[in-house]
Amino acid sequence: MSDLAQLILSGVALGMIYALLAFGYSVTFSTSRTINFAQGEFLMVGALVGLAMETKLHLPYLGATVGAAIAGVFLGLLLEYAAIRRALRTGSTATWILATVALGIILRNAAERIWGTDDLPFPAPFGSDPLIVGGVRILPQEILVIVVAALIMGALELFRRRSAYGKAITAVAADKDAAALMGINVGRVMTLSFVISSVLAAVAGVLVAPLTLVSPTMGTLLGTKAYAVAIIGGLQSGVGGVVGGLLLGLTEQFTARYISTGFKDTPGFVLLILILLVKPSGLFGKRTVRKV
């Protein structure tokens, strides 16, 4: 029994990281109809910047998180400027996909040159010895990941629904032209959405880092799975990202435990294909009307 609880807990912690990334995709997809294919690399930069803050500047974990978030702001601006804005103006789907892919390649190589290619440990703020709760052993960091990720996403969802800027994002998502007519600065809202999404990725990096290790290639697999999560949950839906993330985190752990450790990464793909066949707009997605 405790074995099962242990497994569920690991799955939830992993799922919340997927959810954070997927939540970021939902913010940018709704405003710009694009996905950042370098999101995993943004996570990686967040983690490495955070590590540098801790080891070089001797900042505490919270300070490192803030540092990573600031890095996220810059990454978001860079992404929007260098890969999205120009691509949306001039090119096709292929242009922005490849532009973000190129950005990912550049960031990965740059990180290798700055921090080296090795996997580095990231000290956990509350230690790496597990707490024992009813026979289940939990790392303090796992609790931190679950709680902080839930708080961040809850706050953002509130921001999206209640604040003026949040409503502007919703308006741009619904109809760019109409939003512009209502006096919303569409360009600024789009930039904001990319900044939010990138900060999420960077903070996710610092959150996950003590559980994993930190290296220039750490983000690729996480980022890739988060795309699948976003589509499974519904690309426009924040809630969908959370549900999709948890679903994937749990099925992965269960597959590895009860089917075969070798097939641990397959559920994401299988769920993705199933969802696209049954409900292509995702679990929480709404079918959008095509405009003529």
Binding site: Q6, T117, D118, R137, T212, L221, A256, T261
Partner: protein
């Protein structure tokens, strides 16, 4: 008409480009043939990406050796020139850079690679060109197996093969510790899976089978399911084959689950990325070693470590074994060339198979390391079990 003409022009352009490239290569061949004074030695391995700590260490070790040789006047009165190629750890790139080394650079021998898949895709080319290939890290690549198809075998190894390592890992658990229930946990790469196979063979020889065989992917961050399965099966020891970061995740995962059984790993657990990442959880992890950085007592080994640290101003060698083996492979090759009195492939090969002077290397003293029927330099006697303790790899004597 318009269309025919247009296409014709494009096709003509392409054809001309192909012919031009071919012609250029012809002239390049002629130019590089006699003019070069240096002895060119190819080095290939992953210098970027995930397995680059091993690749770069190996290259740096070889560079250090080449520098030493050149400082003493080189070989046959010529300087050694390393021609380095990044294989990006992919078989297909590895084969291509090997052909570049063999066909364009006309190297006299090649050192490398790290990844077994790369070795499998590329060893044929030096073999065809009759150029020695000294495999200095890849433990799973076939070497002596090649005699079956090629009596004229140009592939040599200076690394502990998976056979030796697997035998030692299983032997440590079963023979020394007297455990009967062991779990295997290997990464899904060629390296890990080959190791798993060899460990299975070693266990079968002792009349036991693993109670659980698990897999993990490179960059897997959570080993909970794999470890749960092993524990459920009642394993008394975890025997793993993988590389540093993932091995660290296993050690950390065992700590998280509060599961305290011996962990015995492949030599990669001596890499800094294991020791740093596993921290206290890595203490007590054992692995077969050809070279123990912090327990080096042989003067040559200490000298090598000092020289490496000085040259690259590093506190620790990312992958000490790779560096030492890269270093020794270069020296062995230079000795063979000197003995052959020629850079001619068949002559160097013959010299390697019958090295008269012993070589005091970083890893070991090599006394006739190769013969016409055995191209493995490292034998069981040269491999010892090392233990991670307090952030260092210590020799078995220091075991608490």
């Amino acid at each position: 008409m318009q269309r025919v003409f247009r296409q014709g022009r494009q096709v003509m352009m392409l054809a001309a480009a192909a012919l031009g490239a071919a012609a250029c290569s012809g002239s390049k061949d002629a130019a590089s043939g006699g003019a070069s004074d240096a002895i060119k030695v190819g080095v290939y391995g992953p210098f970027t990406g995930g397995s680059s700590p091993m690749g770069a260490s190996m290259r740096d070790g070889a560079r250090l050796a080449a520098e030493e040789i050149n400082a003493k006047g080189g070989v046959l009165g010529k300087k050694i020139e390393l021609v380095e190629r990044d294989d990006q750890a992919t078989p297909e790139r590895g084969a291509q850079v090997m052909q570049d080394l063999v066909s364009n650079e006309k190297v006299v021998a090649v050192l490398g690679p790290i990844n077994t898949g790369v070795a499998l895709a590329s060893y044929k080319y030096p073999m065809q060109a009759k150029i020695p290939l000294l495999i200095n890290v890849s433990a799973g690549a076939p070497v002596n197996e090649l005699f079956k198809d090629n009596p004229d075998n140009y592939v040599f190894r200076i690394a502990a093969s998976d056979d030796i390592q697997a035998e030692m890992i299983v032997g440590e658990a079963v023979d020394k510790l007297g455990l009967k229930k062991v779990a295997f946990l290997c990464d899904e790469t060629n390296y890990g899976q080959n190791g798993c196979k060899k460990m299975t063979d070693a266990a079968t020889k002792r009349g036991i089978t693993a109670v659980s065989v698990g897999k993990f992917k490179i960059k897997d961050t959570d080993m909970t399911p794999q470890l749960q399965e092993a524990r459920k099966a009642g394993a008394q020891a975890v025997l793993t084959y993988g590389i540093g970061p993932e091995l660290a995740q296993i050690a950390n995962g065992m700590n998280k689950l509060g599961w305290k059984v011996p962990m015995i790993a492949s030599w990669t657990a001596s890499m800094s990325n294991f020791i740093d990442a596993a921290a206290a959880n890595g203490n007590g992890v054992q692995m077969p070693q050809t070279f123990i950085q912090d327990g080096a007592t042989r003067p040559q080994a200490t000298a090598f470590i000092d020289a490496y640290k000085k040259k690259y101003s590093a506190d620790r060698i990312p992958s000490a074994v790779s560096a030492a083996q890269g270093y020794d492979s270069m020296h062995l090759l230079a000795n063979a060339i000197a003995q052959a009195g020629s850079t001619d492939g068949p002559k160097v090969k013959a010299a390697l198979e019958n090295l008269t002077a012993p070589y005091d290397g970083a890893i070991a003293t090599f006394n006739k390391p190769y013969s016409a029927t055995d191209h493995e330099a490292i034998h069981k006697e040269q491999v010892v079990m090392g233990v991670v303790q307090g952030g260092k790899v210590t020799p078995p004597a220091a075991k608490p």
